[in-house]
């Protein structure tokens, strides 16, 4: 191996790609998208107050209307004393958005309710109204037992417990943890590394095919060894991938930071967090039928738990693991993709030969995106040890914490497999790049492997 020529090859591969328009576009566009994915939901949460709606209430039971308290988005008004049908037909003229018709109490102490509106009601609003009616009926039933002080008892009995999860590290320090954070991070890592390996492995293959079809390859191998050419290409593209990755992290961070402060308030200060939490809390409350106020508090706790969880996580370590597994996984697949590329003269012909590579990648991907459900299951464990799926599956497990020996075993096996596959690929590549004219299949690859 001649380091000087490999260096020249790497720098050509790198510079040629980094200067391409498509590289610049993806490098700058993806962070904008990522930042949008982070910022838009936050903005929506802050500004998602629905327009206040006025609802005419026709309460035939006499027990519900009193419990329908106005909220920020709903005004309840008694319905005018005209027939229901004419209210329904003149909603807008009467200044109502909807009319709520509650039936008389039935024999088993319940009511039916229907609501009519011109425009469909939001899910949130419908749930809110529904739970209020349920509350009213429940209260009525409770009271119908005529037990002294029962409503007070019920209030006292009501409880809302939240499971606070902690993780304990080796030093015995307890960390509050939010499982959701691990799950999201786990899926994200699995998806990103799958994308990266497929994308940049495919790039290696296209580059090999390009050199072969343009016939420049014979000139090249008369100057450098075929293996030098192959590894120069693989390493050059690896550098492109890492550059893109770091630019993405950097730019996304920068955009989120700048946009956050530009919006007038720091999204990450406790006030904003509390407000966001309140919005989230309301949703939670409506689902559970609990009191909104309490849940908002819990929601606030939840958000701060997320922050704390993130802060307590060893993000640097996770990043390091990502880089190690990305680099090794990429090297393994890129060298195999290079062998496939050397055997064909246009990308269309590569589909069949690519299959043995895409199948383990897909398997790894599917194990990875479900790994958060049971990160220590035997499927996830073996998936993260067997080299062809391990880079993807292991990264999906990493946020949950993986024992050191498993990491070491996985890395060791992956590195070993890479060396073996690279050696085989180089043999196939050497012969393949100079084979023109006929379509090659697995048989040919096997022949080339044995002959060189």
């Amino acid at each position: 191996m001649n380091l000087r020529t490999i260096g020249i090859i790497i720098s050509r591969e790198y510079q040629n790609r980094v200067r391409k328009k498509s590289f610049l576009v993806t490098t700058f566009l993806v962070p904008v998208l990522m930042a949008a994915l982070i910022l838009v939901p936050m903005l929506l949460m802050l500004n998602s107050k629905e327009k206040t709606k006025t609802i005419a209430v026709l309460d035939n039971s006499g027990i519900v209307a009193g419990k329908l308290l106005d909220t920020e988005t709903i005004n309840y008004e008694p319905a005018p004393a005209i027939p229901l049908d004419s209210i329904k037909h003149n909603l807008e003229n009467l200044g109502f958005d909807a009319v709520l018709n509650i039936s008389e109490l039935t024999a088993d102490n319940t009511v039916t309710a229907d609501i009519t509106s011109v425009k469909p009601l939001g899910v949130e609003m419908a749930q809110n109204i529904n739970s209020r009616i349920e509350d009213a009926v429940e209260d009525y039933r409770v009271e119908s037992y005529r037990i002294e002080g029962l409503s007070q008892i019920m209030k006292d009995v009501k409880v809302d417990i939240r499971l606070n999860a902690f993780t304990i590290d080796e030093s015995g320090k307890e960390n509050i943890s939010e499982t959701g954070v691990y799950a999201v991070l786990s899926m994200l890592m699995g998806i990103i590394i799958f994308m990266f390996i497929t994308l940049f492995g495919g790039m290696v293959m296209s580059a090999v095919i390009e050199e072969k079809t343009s016939r420049v390859v014979e000139v090249l191998v008369s100057s450098v060894k075929a293996t030098e050419l192959m590894f120069g290409k693989i390493l050059g593209i690896a550098l492109v991938a890492l550059t893109q990755f770091f630019l993405w992290i950097l730019l996304t961070g920068a955009i989120v930071g700048v946009a956050g402060s530009a919006m007038g308030s720091d999204l990450f200060n406790p006030d904003t967090a509390a407000r966001m939490a309140q919005t989230m809390g309301t949703e939670a409350a409506l689902e559970g039928g609990a009191q909104a106020q309490d849940s908002a508090q819990i929601g606030g706790d939840e958000l701060s738990t997320v922050m704390v969880t993130l802060r307590n996580m060893d993000l640097g370590g996770i990043l390091l693991d990502f880089i190690i597994f990305f680099v090794l996984g990429y090297l393994l697949y890129a060298s195999l993709f290079a062998a496939v590329g050397s055997a064909v003269e246009n990308e269309g012909d590569s589909n069949q030969l690519q299959l043995p590579l895409t199948i383990p990648l897909m398997i790894g991907y599917f194990i990875a995106i479900y790994a958060f459900k049971a990160p220590d299951s035997s499927l996830a464990f073996w998936g993260s040890i067997i080299p062809f799926t391990s880079p993807i599956v292991m990264l999906a497990r990493v946020p949950f914490g993986v024992p050191g020996w498993e990491l070491a075993l996985s890395i060791g096996l992956l590195a070993l497999t890479f060396v073996l596959c690279a050696w085989m690929s180089a043999k196939i590549y050497k012969v393949g790049i100079l084979m023109f004219g006929k379509k090659s299949g697995f048989k040919d690859l096997w022949k080339w492997l044995r002959q060189s």
Binding site: I9, E210, E211, E218, S222, F436
Partner: protein, 287 residues
């Protein structure tokens, strides 16, 4: 001393024998024609000399020593199926290929610009290869083959794709490089250029070396060395073929003394390389 020596070179691809004990010597500073029908094994031999392919057995000596990877920096190779990166700028590409041949970036730049100027293509430097015509790209390819001043130049069908004007430019450049001391291997099917340029040839057929030697010797060997006399008299133009043993002096004297006869030419009849090639390859006896 021979610059390149192939000693009992064999190459098998699986069961298929591509080269069968080929031994050759190519002297320094000469143009060596490598001939043979398609599929005879020429390209395999060239790739072995280039160290693109490793021979199954046998050895290649470069300037007296077994050839090694460092020697490829002293070889310039223009394959028959040539190509450049289509999306890359001409200048960047030429620089890249020159640097892979061991040139320093600055020297390479200087030399390349000199070559571009000589070929009158200086303004192509920033063009992409895909914008060039086939002939233009060939010129660039030729420059990238010779810019690092290789001691050995391997040209596979160097004239294909060139119009007559540009082919002549390339022909002159090849002769100039020979003057400067380069050894040149010319693989071609164009027998006229073999007669014109080559000092020695080797003919490969069915993986075996059929014949090897100086062009003049081979033509003599395969000709019957008859002499052809062309003269014009009152009746018009006449061509007479005389046996090899003819005594030139007395024959000419005889014709010169005839009244009204003008001698147009008197030369030894050499078989054309084309005929020798066909004869050797097809195994026919007659030329």
């Amino acid at each position: 001393m021979s610059f390149i020596e192939c000693r009992e070179v064999c190459k098998n691809f699986g069961q298929k024998v591509a080269l069968d004990h080929v031994s050759l010597e190519m002297p320094q500073g000469r143009i060596f024609g490598l001939l043979g029908p398609n599929g005879a094994g020429k390209t395999t031999l060239i790739r072995i000399i280039n160290r693109i392919t490793i021979p199954t057995s046998g050895e290649v000596f470069f300037n007296g020593n077994p050839i090694c990877q460092r020697d490829v920096e002293k070889i310039g190779y223009m394959p028959e199926e040539r190509g450049l990166y289509r999306k890359m700028k001409v200048g960047d590409q030429a620089l890249y290929l020159a640097r892979l041949k061991g040139m320093e970036a600055r020297t390479a730049q200087r030399e390349l610009i000199a070559w571009f100027n000589r070929f009158g293509i200086r303004d192509w430097w920033d063009k992409k290869v895909e914008e060039l015509s086939k002939g233009m790209a060939q010129k660039v390819q030729f420059i990238t083959t010779v810019v690092h001043k290789p001691g050995l130049l391997i040209l596979d069908e160097p004239f294909s794709g060139f119009d007559p004007v540009n082919a002549e430019i390339i022909r002159k450049e090849i002769l100039r490089l020979k003057e400067e001391g380069a050894t040149i291997i010319l693989s071609t099917h164009n027998m006229e250029s073999v007669e014109e340029l080559c000092d020695e040839i080797a003919l490969i057929n069915n993986s075996r070396l059929v014949i090897c030697g100086g062009v003049a010797d081979i033509r003599k060997r395969y000709g019957n060395n008859n002499v052809e006399l062309v003269y014009t008299d009152a009746d018009g133009r006449h061509t007479e073929v005389l046996p090899a043993m003819t005594d030139g002096r007395s024959t000419l004297q005889h014709y010169l003394e005839k009244p009204g006869v003008q001698i147009n030419s008197f030369k030894e009849l050499m078989p054309r390389m084309n005929d020798i090639f066909i004869k050797l390859v097809t195994g026919e006896d007659k030329i």
